[in-house]
Amino acid sequence: MNNRLVIREFVQNLLSQKGDRAAFADSEQLIARGRLQSVDTVEVVIFLEEKYGIDFAEIGFDQNQVESIDNIMALIDAYGERLAMT
C-alpha cells in the first residue's frame, strides 16, 4: 500500500472513532473545518513518528503540517529529502 493510502486509512479511522464517517478529499483542511481536534493531532504526530521516523523536535511542529492528507504527504516528502541531504 502506498503512503497516501496508509495515511488516508489512518485519518479515516481517526474520524470514524469520533463518529465522523463523512467523505473527505485529500486537500480538505480537517483541523480548520473542526473535523479533527488537537487531541487527534496528537495521534497523527505519534503515527508519523512511529511509521516514518519524523522527529518534530528537530523540525518544529505546526498543526498546519498535519492539516490535510496533502500536507502530511508534503511533510513526509520534505522530511525524506532532508534526511537524504544530511
Partner: protein, 473 residues
C-alpha cells in the same frame, strides 16, 4: 428542532446571497443583528466587513487597513487610565505628550517585532531564530519582573511600564506572527499587521489565531463566502437569544424582587450565607460565565465570518461534553488553541517520547497548568505594578491552585479515555447524561477558584468549597 433556522442550508438563499441585491440584504441583516445586540461600533464594523468581504482580491490588505483604523479609533486594549496613573505618580505630564510617548513606544515595539520576524525568516542558526516565541515571552517576562522588582522612578519607571502596557495586549498576537515566520510561505509585514488585534475583536487571546490560520480559513469563492456569511448571521441570532437568557438570569437570580441570590464574590466573603444559597450563587456564577463567554466569543467570530473567514466558534455546545478534556476544548476554543500551540506541542514533541501516556500528561500539565498561569500572570501586569513582583506572585496562589486542578482533571480525563471509542453516540442516554453532569459539576466547583484577583489567599476559597459540603471549618 433547531432554535436558529439553518439559513446556510437553504439553496435558494445561498443563490440569492450571491447576487448584488442578496449581498446588500446580507450586509443589512448583519447590521441589524449588530444593532440588536447593541454593539457600539456597529456602523464601522458593518462598513469594514462589507469592504473586506466584497473585495476578495484585496481582502487581507483591507483587514490590515481596518486593523489600523481600529488601532487609531477603538484601541480599548491599551490601558490609558493605567498609563496616566503612572505618569501622574512619577510627576510626568499626562496631556498629549503622554499620548505621543505611548504612540512612539508602540511604533518602536512594532518595528522591533518586524525586525525579529525577518530575522526568524532568514533561518539563522540561533536560539532566537529556532525558538522565537520562547524568546519573546521570556523577554517580556524579564522586563515585567525587572519593572516590578527594581526601584525605578521618574521617567525610567514610566518608560518601563509604558513598554509593558503596550506589549502585553499584543503578546500572543506577536507569538502567532513569529510562529508564521517559520512557515514555508508566510505573509509579509503588512498582512501580518492585520492579524495583530484584527478589527473583528479579540482579547489577549487571538480569536481566529494568526496569519497562517487566516490563509487556511479564507473563503475562496462567492458561494463559500455566502454560506460563511449566513453562518455569521445565524451566530448573531444565537447571540441575541443568549443575551436575552443572560439578562433574564441576572434579573431573576440576582434581582432583589426575585430570588435575590448574592453574587459569588459576595457569598465567598460571608460565612453566614446558608448552604443552599451558596450553591445557588455558585451555579448562577458558572451559568453566567458560560453564557458570557459564549456571547462575547460568538460576536467576534460572527464579525470574522462576515468578513469572509470561516473561523470556528469559540464556544461550541459545552453542555454536550462527556469528558473534562472535551469541555475544555468546547468552552474556550481559542485560549485552548493558544495553550496547545505554544505549550502543549513544544513539550509533547520533545519530552517523554517513549512513554506515551506520560508524554500526553506532561504536555497537558505544561499547557493547562503552566501555560495558563504564564498567560494570566503576564497579562495582568497591573497587579505587578500595584503589589510589586513578589506580592503579585504570592497573590497568584488561588489561580495557581485552579490551573493545577484543571491540568490534573484534563490529564486524568485524557489518560482514562486513551484508546476508547470517542464518539460515545452508542452509550445509553442516562450514561451520557451522567457523564455530562459529572463534567459540569467538576467545572462548576472549580469555578470557585477561577479567580483572577490577587487580594485573598487560597484559604477563603477552600473554606467556601468545604461549606458547600457542610464540612465545618
Amino acid at each position: 428542532m433547531k432554535i436558529v433556522p439553518q439559513l446556510d442550508t437553504y439553496p435558494w438563499l445561498v443563490s440569492f446571497g450571491q447576487t448584488a441585491l442578496g449581498k446588500a440584504a446580507l450586509i443589512g441583516a448583519f447590521a441589524g443583528g449588530l444593532l440588536a445586540i447593541r454593539l457600539d461600533s456597529w456602523m464601522e464594523m458593518t462598513g469594514a466587513v462589507a469592504l473586506v468581504a466584497y473585495f476578495p482580491a484585496r481582502r487581507r490588505l483591507l483587514v490590515s487597513a481596518a486593523a489600523l483604523y481600529w488601532l487609531f479609533f477603538h484601541s480599548t486594549w491599551l490601558d490609558r487610565t493605567f498609563l496616566r496613573t503612572i505618569a501622574k505618580a512619577e510627576g510626568q505630564r499626562t496631556d498629549w505628550t503622554l499620548t505621543l510617548l505611548v504612540s512612539g513606544i508602540l511604533a518602536t515595539v512594532f518595528c522591533l517585532l518586524a525586525l525579529f520576524f525577518h530575522y526568524v525568516r532568514a533561518r539563522r542558526v540561533s536560539l532566537a531564530a529556532k525558538r522565537p516565541v520562547l524568546c519573546l515571552v521570556t523577554g517580556y517576562a524579564a522586563v515585567l519582573a525587572a519593572a516590578g522588582a527594581l526601584p525605578l522612578g521618574g521617567m525610567a519607571r514610566l518608560l518601563a511600564w509604558s513598554v509593558i502596557a503596550v506589549t502585553a495586549p499584543y503578546l500572543w498576537y506577536f507569538a502567532y506572527a513569529l510562529k508564521d515566520a517559520s512557515a514555508k510561505t508566510p505573509d509579509g509585514a503588512i498582512l501580518q499587521f492585520g492579524t495583530l488585534r484584527p478589527f473583528w475583536g479579540g482579547t489577549g487571546v487571538p480569536y481566529a489565531k494568526g496569519a497562517a490560520n487566516l490563509r487556511r480559513i479564507e473563503t475562496r469563492n462567492s458561494k463559500d463566502l455566502c454560506i460563511t456569511q449566513l453562518k455569521a448571521i445565524k451566530l448573531l441570532i444565537w447571540v441575541f437569544i443568549l443575551q436575552v437568557a443572560l439578562g433574564a438570569l441576572r434579573v431573576f437570580v440576582y434581582g432583589e424582587r426575585f430570588l435575590g441570590v448574592p453574587v459569588l464574590a459576595a457569598a465567598l466573603h460571608h460565612a453566614a450565607v446558608p448552604v443552599h444559597v451558596a450553591w445557588a450563587s455558585l451555579i448562577a456564577h458558572f451559568a453566567e460565565a458560560m453564557l458570557g463567554i459564549t456571547v462575547s466569543g460568538n460576536i467576534i467570530i460572527a464579525c470574522c465570518r462576515m468578513a469572509g473567514f470561516y473561523a470556528l466558534r469559540n464556544t461550541y455546545r459545552p453542555l454536550e461534553s462527556r469528558t473534562v478534556a472535551e469541555f475544555w476544548n468546547r468552552y474556550y476554543y481559542y485560549f485552548k488553541e493558544l495553550l496547545v500551540d505554544f505549550f502543549f506541542f513544544p513539550v509533547f514533541t520533545r519530552y517523554f517520547k517513549k512513554y506515551r501516556r506520560l508524554r500526553v500528561f506532561a504536555a497537558t500539565m505544561a499547557a493547562a497548568t503552566v501555560g495558563n498561569m504564564v498567560y494570566h500572570f503576564l497579562r495582568d501586569y497591573q497587579d505587578v505594578t500595584a503589589m510589586g513582583l513578589w506580592r503579585a506572585l504570592a497573590g497568584f496562589q488561588v489561580y495557581a491552585f485552579y490551573t493545577t486542578v484543571l491540568g490534573l482533571g484534563i490529564g486524568i480525563s485524557q489518560w482514562r479515555s486513551h484508546g476508547r471509542e470517542r464518539s460515545g453516540g452508542d452509550a445509553q442516554w442516562w450514561r451520557r447524561a451522567l457523564a455530562t453532569a459529572g463534567v459540569l459539576s467538576f467545572f462548576c466547583l472549580l469555578a470557585i477558584f477561577d479567580q483572577e484577583g490577587r487580594s485573598y489567599g487560597l484559604g477563603l476559597y477552600l473554606r467556601f468549597f468545604l461549606r458547600l459540603f457542610l464540612i465545618p471549618v
